[in-house]
C-alpha cells in the first residue's frame, strides 16, 4: 500500500523519539550528531528516524558541506495543524446546530423519544 502524504506524516509522528526530534528542530537546524546527543541510541538509529521524517516530508538536509544540518519543513506541520483545525471547525458547526436544537427543546424531556418507548414495549399497546 502506498499511504497518502498525510498518513505518512501521522505515521512519522507516531514515534515519541521522532516527535521529540521534531520539537527540537522547531528551535533550529541541527546536525545528526547534535540530534543524537540527548538519546541513548546509536547514530544509525537516529539516522533511521531521520529517514522516516524525511520520507514524510517533515525534514530536509541542506547541502552545507560536511555539517549537512537537518532542517524542519514547518509548512508540512502547519498543514497538518490546519487539517485538524478544519475537522474541528466542522465539529464546532455541527455542535452549534446541536446548541440550537437543545435550546428549542422543552426542559423536562425524557432521554428517549416516546416512539422509542412504545417500540420497547411493543405488544403492550
Amino acid at each position: 500500500m502506498a499511504p497518502d502524504p498525510l498518513s505518512r506524516v501521522f505515521a512519522a509522528l507516531a514515534d515519541p523519539t521522532r516527535r521529540d526530534m521534531v520539537a527540537r528542530l522547531a528551535a533550529g537546524d541541527a546536525t545528526v550528531n547534535e540530534l543524537a546527543a540527548p538519546y541513548d541510541v546509536t547514530i544509525q538509529a537516529v539516522s533511521k528516524h531521520l529517514r522516516v521524517l524525511h520520507d514524510a516530508g517533515l525534514v530536509s538536509r541542506t547541502r552545507d558541506a560536511q555539517r549537512r544540518p537537518v532542517h524542519l519543513e514547518a509548512e508540512v506541520l502547519d498543514l497538518m495543524t490546519k487539517w485538524i483545525e478544519r475537522y474541528r471547525r466542522e465539529a464546532e458547526e455541527r455542535y452549534r446546530r446541536l446548541d440550537d436544537v437543545l435550546a428549542a427543546m422543552p426542559d423536562d424531556v425524557e432521554p428517549v423519544p416516546p416512539a422509542r418507548s412504545r417500540l420497547a414495549q411493543e405488544g403492550t399497546s
Binding site: S7, F10, R86, E92
Partner: protein, 163 residues
C-alpha cells in the same frame, strides 16, 4: 497527542492509536443532549452538514438497534450505517459507523455524556478505526472540499520538498 483548541470544541488526534476524540460542553442536562442523539427528528436538525439534505432511513437508537441515513447533494447520495452496541440513557452510546462508499471500513464510536452539574453536559465523542490510513480517510470523508484542497496543497509541498 496533538490538540487544537479554539472556543469550545476540542479535537484530539492521537498519534499512537488511530482515533479522533472530540470534546464539547453544552448548556443542557445529559437527558436533553442524549435525547438529541436518539430522536431521529432532532438528529436530522444537527448531525448532517447544513448544505446537505439528511434523510433518515431508520434510526433505532437502543442497545442492539441500528441506523442508516443518507446525505444528498446535487443528485449524489452518501449513505452511512451502523449498529448501536450499547445505549444507556443520558450516559453512553457505543455504535459502529460505516460510510457506504468504503463499506469494508468501520469506525467504533463511543459517545459519553458527562453531567457537569448546573444543567451542563460534557460530550466526549471518540472514533476508533483499525489503521492510521483509515482514520485519516475517515476524518476526510466527513469533511468538505477544503480537505481535498488541503491534501492537494500538501502534495505540492511534499513534491517541492522532495525535489
Amino acid at each position: 497527542m496533538m490538540t487544537t483548541r479554539t472556543h469550545e470544541t476540542e479535537i484530539t488526534v492521537d498519534q499512537d492509536v488511530p482515533l479522533v476524540r472530540i470534546t464539547r460542553d453544552f448548556d443542557a442536562p445529559p437527558e436533553k443532549v442524549f435525547r438529541a442523539h436518539t430522536d431521529p427528528d432532532l438528529v436530522t436538525q444537527w448531525l448532517g452538514p447544513r448544505r446537505l439534505e439528511m434523510r433518515i432511513d431508520h434510526y433505532d437508537c437502543r442497545t442492539g438497534g441500528s441506523y442508516r441515513y443518507v446525505h444528498a447533494a446535487d443528485g449524489h447520495e452518501f449513505g452511512f450505517h451502523g449498529c448501536f452496541h450499547e445505549v444507556r440513557p443520558a450516559e453512553l452510546i457505543v455504535q459502529t459507523f460505516t460510510f457506504e462508499g468504503v463499506p469494508d471500513e468501520v469506525a467504533l464510536e463511543r459517545i459519553a455524556f458527562t453531567d457537569l452539574g448546573d444543567g451542563r453536559t460534557r460530550l466526549t465523542s471518540t472514533s476508533l478505526v483499525d489503521s492510521f490510513a483509515a482514520r485519516d480517510a475517515f476524518v476526510a470523508s466527513g469533511m468538505e472540499t477544503g480537505v481535498r484542497e488541503g491534501y492537494e496543497r500538501l502534495d505540492e509541498v511534499l513534491a517541492a520538498g522532495a525535489a
